[in-house]
């Protein structure tokens, strides 16, 4: 799981639409703490994500990276501090949680496609029942995004008939069908065969090129270099260091960061 790869996409990344807003805040996390029963898993997290930012979160396993982004759409509950997403603060209020989730897409390490539904049904379920979009229109949107992830011909198959890379691209398309304002990626390439990592990264890069606000927990340092505008390094439930990728990789400040980078970059 914590293997690090440096897969890169052999084409220049088009940065013309990658603009970070200086005024619009997408996510704000203030003094947030979280415990798993007695284990203090996230400690004093402060993070402000502007619209259009592409953030890569790195760190050793168990450092709380995944837990952090899972708090952002309330798959995990935090106990202290504030999380404000698109201006809505996450509390126990179910209505607000659903409101936030509608606008925040998430891609999981193990895809989590619905195995009993076809690819097309996977993509249209939420738009139809959450957004109330007519079926025909939802299917049209779904096909659009399937084309975008380059597998429109798989629309009527079941997830089990697709390769891992194809499944992950479907999962990305499924999130996009809800037309979210923010995308969270939780180690999207960690469960993939090496040959399939590239096709998923390609899709993620093209998303970034369109100006999507993204937070990616990933070990793909090549992706971080090419796409991210900020790299966050976490250890022991805390944000240890964050910087622009260039500076982060060439000139790490904290001892823990230096150690981590020395172990993963050769």
């Amino acid at each position: 799981m914590s293997q690090v790869s440096e897969t890169t996409v052999d084409r220049p990344v088009d940065t013309s639409h990658m603009q970070v807003s200086s005024t619009n805040v997408a996510i704000e996390v203030i003094g947030m703490h979280k415990w798993y029963s007695d284990f203090h898993v996230l400690r004093d997290i402060n993070l402000k994500v502007m619209e259009g930012e592409r953030i890569v979160i790195a760190g050793p396993s168990g450092s709380g990276k995944s837990t952090l982004i899972r708090c952002i759409n309330r798959l995990e509950e935090h106990q202290e501090g504030q999380i404000i997403v698109n201006g809505t603060e996450l509390t126990a209020d179910l209505k607000r949680i659903d409101e936030v989730r509608r606008e925040v897409g998430m891609v999981f390490q193990h895809f989590n496609l619905f195995p009993h539904l076809t690819i097309l049904q996977n993509l249209t379920l939420a738009p139809i029942w959450v957004r109330g979009i007519p079926k025909a229109e939802a299917e049209e949107t779904a096909m659009h995004y399937l084309e975008r992830v380059k597998i429109p011909e798989q629309a009527l198959k079941f997830p089990g008939q697709l390769s891992g890379g194809q499944q992950q691209r479907v999962a990305i398309a499924r999130s996009l069908c809800m037309q979210p304002r923010i995308m969270l990626f939780d180690e999207p390439t960690s469960a993939l065969d090496p040959e399939m990592v590239k096709e998923v990264l390609e899709v993620m890069i093209s998303l970034a090129e369109d100006g999507m606000t993204m937070i990616c927990v990933t070990h793909e340092m090549g992706f971080a270099r090419q796409v991210a505008n900020r790299v966050i390094f976490m250890d022991q439930g805390q944000i240890i260091e964050q910087n622009e990728p260039e500076a982060f990789f060439s000139n790490p400040q904290h001892e823990r960061t230096k150690l981590f980078l020395s172990q993963i970059l050769h």
Binding site: D98, H110, F114, P115, L125
Partner: protein, 375 residues
Amino acid sequence: MTDIGFVRADMVDARPAPHRTSGAVAWAQKNLFATPLDGVLTVLGAIFLLWIIPPIYNFFIGHAVGPAGTVEECRMENAGACWAYIHSEMEFFIYGFYDIPEQWRPNIVFALGAALLIPLLMPKVPFKRTNAVLFLFVYPIVSYYLLAGGVFGLKPMPTEKWGGLLVTLIISVVGITLSFPIGIILALGRQSKMPVIKTLCIGFIELVRAVPLISVLFMASIMLPLFMPQGMTIDKLLRALVGVTLFTSAYMAEVVRGGLQAIPRGQYEAGASLGLSYWQRMYFIILPQALKHVIPGIVNSFIALFKDTSLVYIVGMKDLLEAVKTKNDTALEWQSANTATTGYLFAAMVFWVFCFGMSRYSIYMERRLNTGYKR
């Protein structure tokens, strides 16, 4: 010096698998006489079958008295099953004490039920929604008034008079259609994060599951009237229905819970991250998968329910088995050595046909729903 270098020059094309040997002799050699021990066991097995089959055949068919036979034939020595007895008492076995001139009413109920249920069970037949509404909501009302009468000039027919297969089918169909959704709700409730709901569900399940059905029915018939206002009685059939339904619901809940636990957490999370509400997640994502996993368990409960209907004699209902028993004990004109045996065999066969049908249908459904997991 060893040379370990290797480069494949040309790729091998895929070709069809080699032919398998077939034919009766090859099959027998492989499956029956593969080793000397196999051969001995096969011969022993054949001898056992030759020993056991003729008497069974003779009892059921060879020496049996057919439907047109008489009681004298049944009383003869060496006579087999007395099917004439079954034929002569068939009406009682099907309708109980239901008035004979009025038996067209249960017949219509049977026919309607079959006409609505069979297309509902066949995946290819269209109009599933209309069909389901008709079967689940319209059919019970129509059936009740048709059977009970008292309206539209139909002769009133108290439930005490209903009996036989009619009662067995009513209790099992109602029990199955009600206990399934109740069981699902209980299973979801048991997994709920809300403490009150969770406790109530656990309490109900553990209480009902820990008591024999007989005592649930007994309580329904003895205890329930104690809580009712003076003079108010609850119909016997209704008591049996409530008892059986609640009992099966508790079992169903545990079966469904097993299915829910087999669903990976990622499925819940994926649904939640898309903004689907709790009920949407359950209905569209979790339950279709969970129920598919536990079809054998669900059908197991249904089969158990179907057979447990014979316990309603506790509250004084004459279901199929009780109707057979009653006739066995009281039909003096049919008394013979094999009359009672034949009666019970008949009841067993009827139960078997229905249970086997459910079992086959569940296997068919399992296969049909397998698509998503094929890899």
